[in-house]
């Protein structure tokens, strides 16, 4: 066990590689935390952001706050040797300070499809100095199975992802969003078109889109969206999905994280949409 002071000293000596010993890692982004854990390096994590909640054992780590509103000194107080961040970690001035501060700062690419996930895993493993082979093989196998299931779909369903229903307003996942990505991997078609990212959608546009299934995240408390809320909603309740009660609820980070479980999530969504096959 190397002492905290020695680690600090090590990080100050530029000539010494930062990860001569086991590096202390702070992770900023839920899918990256999941990849680190899947690579077997969870023991190196000393801090996480608010979105890093899977596996649940991560919750015991100090939380440095929301990934877009980080505190430079808060992150540095954990004395990391390596910071693994998703693309939109911020605010930018804080990221600048962190990059200048001594720990290695690695920004990992975002992903909304299979190759993106594999690239993210490869880059994360590289930053940690670990081999990604076993994990890549497993994720590739899951993605292949998902692709085979998606290819077998004869009548693709249109799916509307509803992020939130605050005050009755439908916040949906549009083009280029992670929701559209997972729906495509599962062999569905995104019902929300004409806008990018997660945005509010008018009731009439929801009716016109007429999704065959509605996809939501299972959350607790006020933010949860229940099938009853969908049925009672003036627009959602009148769509094919609403009338048939086809509401699929899945864990948010499992579904949209685009981490190592992406293939599994696509298979789970495919099964929910089209039923289990052989």
């Amino acid at each position: 066990m190397i002492s905290r002071r020695a680690v600090l000293l090590g990080s100050c000596l530029v000539a010494l590689p930062a990860f001569a010993a086991t590096p202390r890692v702070v992770v900023l982004g839920g899918s990256i935390a999941e990849i680190v854990a899947a690579l077997g390096a969870e023991g190196q994590l000393v801090g996480r952001d608010t979105t890093s909640t899977y596996p649940a054992s991560l919750l015991a780590l100090p939380d440095v706050g929301y990934v877009r509103a980080l505190s430079a000194e808060g992150v540095l107080s954990l004395a990391p040797d390596l910071i693994l961040a998703e693309e939109d970690a911020g605010p930018p001035p804080v990221v600048e300070v962190l990059k200048a501060a001594g720990p290695r700062f690695v920004t990992l690419p975002g992903a909304t499809d299979g190759p993106g996930v594999l690239a993210k895993i490869t880059a994360t493993a590289e930053a940690l100095g670990l081999s990604a082979e076993a994990l890549l093989a497993k994720v590739q196998a899951d993605l292949d199975r998902a692709a085979a299931l998606a290819a077998a779909v004869t009548a693709p369903q249109s799916v509307l992802f509803v992020l939130s229903l605050q005050g009755g307003s439908v916040m949906a996942g549009g083009a280029g969003s992670s929701a559209e990505g997972i729906i495509a991997l599962a062999g569905g078609i995104n019902a929300a078109t004409g806008f990018t990212g997660f945005k509010p959608m008018t009731d009439e546009a929801v009716l016109a889109a007429n999704p065959g299934a509605i996809l939501v995240m299972d959350r607790e408390g006020e933010l949860s969206i229940t099938p009853e809320m969908i049925a009672a909603h003036p627009a959602l309740g009148q769509t094919s999905a609403g009338l048939a009660g086809r509401v699929i609820s899945m864990d948010g980070i499992f579904l949209l994280g685009f981490g190592p479980r992406t293939g599994e999530a696509a298979i789970a969504l495919n099964t929910a949409l089209y039923g289990a096959k052989g």
């Binding site: 100050c12 929301y66 509103a69 992150v75 540095l76 300070v97 200048a100 509010p200």
Partner: protein
């Protein structure tokens, strides 16, 4: 006179507290030791690139907001007036929303649009309030209300166009933060706010006379029109810069002047310089809490200033009723 003596001491205490407090274990004692034996690379980074610029930005922004508050309260002869009355706050908020939603999320973009928004609103209002070559305060107030509503509507329109991430950025912006403090920001802030802090006390005698009414001030030999324009320009500069540098930080502009009037009486010659110091000290103190309470994360500072400020605001209201 004791307040004048205490203020520099209190400020010094706050400065030491701010430099010696934070998530990393760099304490005042370690700082004192480090001055003799040298700080480690990490420690000097925390001191020079994180805590010091943040302290300076806090002093400038807090001072700017408090002095703006004093100027507005004198101009409107109302202890609850704040720079929002002349449209700086809503204008800057509108600018920030435009920057976040339409301009990408670059930090300089949002700062620039917020500052322009604040200035645009003031310039428009001042133009509307001109009647017969003089600035009509009642017109200014009413036009301010109308423009604030208009700004709010446009802000709302843009918010409905925003995506999830932009909405989160917006809500964090509206709660304010000194978290992104850099030396460039400190430099910009000093350039715009410092002259206002230094020049505002020159208006003190005129503002005192204005308390008796515009006509009385005029008959006492003050150039009332020039005074009003200067107060508005200074407020637009200081508040516009403060809001664009640190987001929406409420109540400093109401609380600090009020506390100073309680301690010193209504004379602006004493209040204006102390508002510059006291506003800075109070904001830096709130910032120390913001970064310690939930470390290693941090709270938006606007939450803390409102927590401190709202009860004081209510206190003023209740006293006025009595």
């Amino acid at each position: 006179m004791t307040a004048q003596r205490l203020a520099p001491l209190a400020l010094l205490g706050v400065v030491l507290l701010a430099l010696g407090t934070g998530a990393t274990g760099l304490s005042p004692l370690r700082l004192a030791e480090g001055l003799r034996t040298g700080l480690s690379a990490q420690e000097s980074l925390v001191l020079w690139d994180i805590r010091l610029p943040r302290l300076m930005l806090g002093l400038l922004v807090g001072g700017g907001l408090a002095v703006s508050g004093v100027l507005m309260q004198a101009l409107f002869r109302n202890p609850l007036a704040d720079p929002g009355v002349i449209g700086v706050g809503p204008g800057a908020a509108l600018g920030a929303v435009v920057g976040i939603v339409l301009g990408g999320s670059g930090p300089w973009v949002v700062m620039g649009t917020a500052f322009l928004g604040g200035w645009g609103a003031v310039a428009l209002l001042a133009r509307i309030a001109q009647s017969g070559g003089r600035t009509d305060i009642a017109r200014l107030l009413l036009a301010g209300i109308a423009l604030s509503a208009l700004g709010g509507a446009v802000t709302g329109l843009l918010v409905t166009m925003a995506d999830d991430r932009q909405l989160r950025d917006l809500s964090y912006w509206s709660m304010g933060s000194l978290g992104g403090a850099t030396w460039q920001k400190v430099g910009l802030g000093a350039l715009v706010i410092l002259p206002v802090l230094l020049l505002a006390p020159r208006l003190a005698r005129g503002l005192d006379a204005l308390a008796l009414g515009e006509a009385a001030a005029f008959h006492m030999g003050h150039r009332v029109e020039r005074l009003k324009v200067l107060a508005i320009v200074m407020t637009a500069l200081a508040t516009g810069a403060a809001v664009s540098l640190a987001g929406g930080i409420g109540f400093i502009g109401v609380v600090v002047p009020h506390l100073l009037r309680l301690a010193l009486g209504p004379g602006h010659r004493a209040i204006l310089p102390l508002a510059a110091l006291g506003g800075g000290a109070l904001l830096v103190l709130a910032d120390v809490l913001a970064r310690v309470l939930t470390a290693p994360a941090e709270l938006p500072i606007g939450i803390l200033t409102a927590l401190i400020g709202a009860p004081v605001f209510l206190h003023i209201l209740l006293r006025r009723r009595a």
